[in-house]
């Protein structure tokens, strides 16, 4: 059962996203920026699966995003110019990438986990940069937009591609929402709040974290696959740790652990970057400053503001600096 306020919220966001291709040109922005927002939101949601739902400080999701991008682009260019198949291949690649590095990651928690995600993320960046016969190296890799089902089926452009991405995103958001309310999701929340207790309920949390990593790799890879088609290009910087950091910041800007947070964060980030960089070469200072400001002043993000206040009213008294992503983040000395 959804609360009335949630129904209003979901409806508002739905209407906003559906009308976005009409709204953006009206304020002097282009439709493909909307597509970028949606696809960055997918990447940010993949971070949120780990960070918000499972309490793991992931700082390498750009690697999954990039693997998805290259996977689909290479397939579309070299094997079969078919959008749907390309997306499937890209997503399978990114999920596999997650499966390969997950055994290294699940043995660590806390900042050690972050450190490992940064380092392993950089491995993928390095491969894309270095394996230039296949990836085109730093010059990147071009594709032409593939027909949706290959052959002579139509090719999606501009707003039709936006709605295609939006549809996929909506389905995925719904699936994530369902998962968070499933037994699996409940266990992830348990891990985020108190992993020791989860283990003392007889649950092998490592296996849940493994699956969460796969899920995260899947979502990020789907975003990446759609992105490389959107810009008809893939390039190594997509996997750089700065890109990962941007995705994490999107989650924080919007509100960590919420379903809509990553969307709002992605929108703020993408639009701010796009608009500011048209005006001033110092835009990176402003974006970096915005990050710092949010971290210091609004650590729960825009959505977290309301939620936090509601919870605060219910609770007797709590430390105002209670962590958004509690306990589980600091690694305990457990076998």
């Amino acid at each position: 059962m959804m609360k009335f306020a949630n129904v209003i919220g979901v409806s508002f966001m739905a209407v906003l996203l559906v009308l976005l291709p009409l709204l953006l040109p009206a304020v002097g922005l282009n439709i493909s920026l909307g597509t970028t927002v949606i696809l960055f939101a997918l990447a940010a949601s993949s971070v949120n699966v780990l960070l918000g739902f499972t309490g793991l400080m992931a700082f390498g999701n750009a690697a999954f995003f990039g693997v998805g991008a290259y996977g689909s682009a290479l397939f579309i260019a070299d094997v079969n110019a078919n959008l749907i198949l390309g997306l499937i291949v890209g997503t399978v690649c990114s999920t596999l990438a997650a499966a390969i590095i997950a055994p290294f990651l699940i043995r660590r928690r806390g900042i050690y986990f972050s450190l490992l995600t940064i380092a392993f993320g950089q491995v993928f960046y390095f491969i894309a940069y270095r394996w230039s016969n296949v990836t085109g190296g730093e010059d990147g890799f071009s594709i032409s937009k593939p027909p949706i089902f290959g052959g002579s089926s139509p090719t999606l452009n501009g707003s039709s591609y936006y709605y295609f991405c939006l549809a996929i995103f909506a389905v995925l958001l719904f699936v994530l929402w369902r998962i968070m309310r499933s037994p699996f999701g409940l266990t992830l929340q348990g891990i985020a709040q108190n992993e020791a207790r989860v283990r003392y309920l007889g649950i092998n949390s490592d296996r849940f974290i493994f699956v969460a990593l796969l899920l995260s790799g899947f979502v990020a890879g789907l975003g990446g696959a759609l992105y490389s088609v959107s810009i008809a290009f893939s390039y190594p910087l997509l996997m750089d740790w700065h890109q990962s950091g941007d995705f994490v910041m999107m989650v924080i800007l919007g509100g960590v652990g919420t379903i809509w947070g990553p969307v709002i964060g992605a929108a703020i980030y993408a639009i701010a970057q796009n608009v500011l960089s048209s005006f001033t070469p110092a835009w990176q200072i402003i974006i970096g400053g915005m990050f710092i400001f949010f971290v210091l002043v609004f650590p729960k993000g825009l959505l977290g503001l309301g939620a936090a206040r509601r919870r605060r009213e219910e609770e007797a008294s709590q430390d105002p600096d209670v962590a958004v992503v509690p306990a589980g983040l600091i690694e305990g000395r457990q076998p």
């Binding site: 922005l29 493909s32 970057q273 960089s277 990176q284």
Partner: protein, 395 residues
């Protein structure tokens, strides 16, 4: 409100510029923009194009292909540009080129050198002003053999760009009957070249061809200097970016390099009055002499305007056809043209030596041009390009 007035679009020719205003290429990008801006100002002063004023809308592509695509689309959809120019980074050039094909907007790559833009990934909408990587290696190959000797040693960075430079030299070496006495690929970011340089000293080539860029090049040159290699063996390379040499310590301002243009040499400008005027106006305006990058920007904007005038329309097909194959007098000796087959600008390339101090009381003047090669001699033959590049003009 920062929206352009839509009605105004009809009274203006709008040219978009996508440049690496932030990031490592900020300096070359700035010089390209200065060139474009100067050309547009002069065109407008002379009455504009098709009696419409030209407006230049500049966007920062942040040296990131994703942003470059976004900005290209913004320029096309929101600013309703008639043509797009710019880019320094090859990845940005190619990504932008693809977007412009999709939107059927003419695009002139000012400064991204990768072969694919006018090769495998060429489009009927895309043109390129700067030389291709192939042209750089071939032009310098001829000049090196001509001026420095025919016993070569290659040192290349081990990544995509290094490999394509190496391929270029390997092609020209056969034509010239050069003996190659050694070849090394050094990883990108190598800090110590002494192992490679010792091998070079033992191999005793006439010329060491260094294909490194940026910081790797600087480190390599500094170490070659300290090992005394420079006194025994000539050092040369495919492309000297004057912006880089200006910021180098004097001990690293050494060697022979391919130059895409230079402001102070009779071999480059000859008696070309347009060039002399350009250099003077530019230097007065920006308190710094123009570089090859400035020329890319200037010539690109100027030729685009000329093509629109000739086509009497901003229609993409007409403008592209007008630009393609039209011979013109640039800011150098001899003529130039964007050739029909692949839309690459065919123009000469120069070769010369870099020196530590500015000559003739001009601190900027650190380059001595000694040779030049005509463009059609150094680019891939048009017949070969036909097999690689399919422009696919709309019927």
């Amino acid at each position: 409100m920062f929206l352009p007035k839509r009605g105004a679009a009809a009274d203006l020719i709008v040219i978009g510029a996508s440049e690496e205003i932030t990031g490592v290429y900020a300096e070359p990008a700035r010089n390209e923009i200065r060139g474009m801006q100067l050309a547009v100002d002069q065109i407008n002063k002379a009455g504009g194009v098709l009696s419409r004023q030209v407006k230049l809308v500049i966007e920062d592509n942040a040296n990131n292909p994703g942003t470059a695509v976004e900005k290209a689309r913004k320029l096309i959809q929101v600013d309703k540009i008639n043509a797009l120019i710019g880019t320094v980074n090859s990845a940005n050039s190619q990504a932008t080129s693809n977007v412009c094909l999709e939107a059927t907007i003419p695009f002139v790559d000012t400064g991204g050198h990768t072969d694919s833009v006018t090769g495998q990934q060429c489009h009927w909408t895309s043109f390129r002003t700067c030389h291709s990587t192939w042209m750089e290696t071939h032009a310098t190959g001829y000049s090196i053999a001509n001026k420095l000797g025919k016993k070569w040693y290659y040192l290349a960075p081990d990544y995509a760009f290094g490999h394509s430079l190496l391929d270029g030299y390997k092609d020209i070496e056969k034509k010239l009957g050069v003996t190659v006495v050694g070849e090394d690929l050094a990883p990108l970011g190598t800090t110590d070249f002494s192992a490679y340089l010792t091998k070079v000293l033992n191999a005793k080539p006439d010329v060491l061809i260094i294909m490194q860029q940026g910081q790797d090049l600087i480190n390599c040159l500094k170490q070659a200097n300290s090992l005394g290699l420079l006194k025994r063996i000539a050092v040369a390379g495919p492309q000297g970016e004057i912006e880089n040499f200006w910021s180098l310590p004097k001990e690293a301002r050494v060697g022979y390099w391919g130059f895409e243009w230079y402001y102070k040499s009779a071999l480059v400008t000859g008696k070309n009055k347009a060039a002399a005027d350009f250099i003077k106006t530019y230097t007065d305006l920006y308190k710094q002499p123009p570089t090859a990058r400035s020329v890319f920007g200037y010539v690109t904007a100027q030729q685009l305007a000329a093509a629109i005038t000739k086509a009497k329309s901003t229609d993409a097909v007409k403008v592209s056809q007008a630009l393609s194959g039209e011979h013109f007098q640039g800011l150098w000796q001899g003529d130039a043209y964007y050739r029909d087959v692949d839309h690459q600008l065919i123009w000469p390339m120069w070769f010369g030596q870099v020196r530590g101090d500015g000559a003739g009381g001009d601190e900027w003047n650190i380059f001595e041009v000694v040779d030049s090669q005509p463009g059609d001699k150094v680019e891939k033959p048009a017949d070969d390009q036909k097999a690689v590049c399919k422009l696919n003009y709309p019927a």
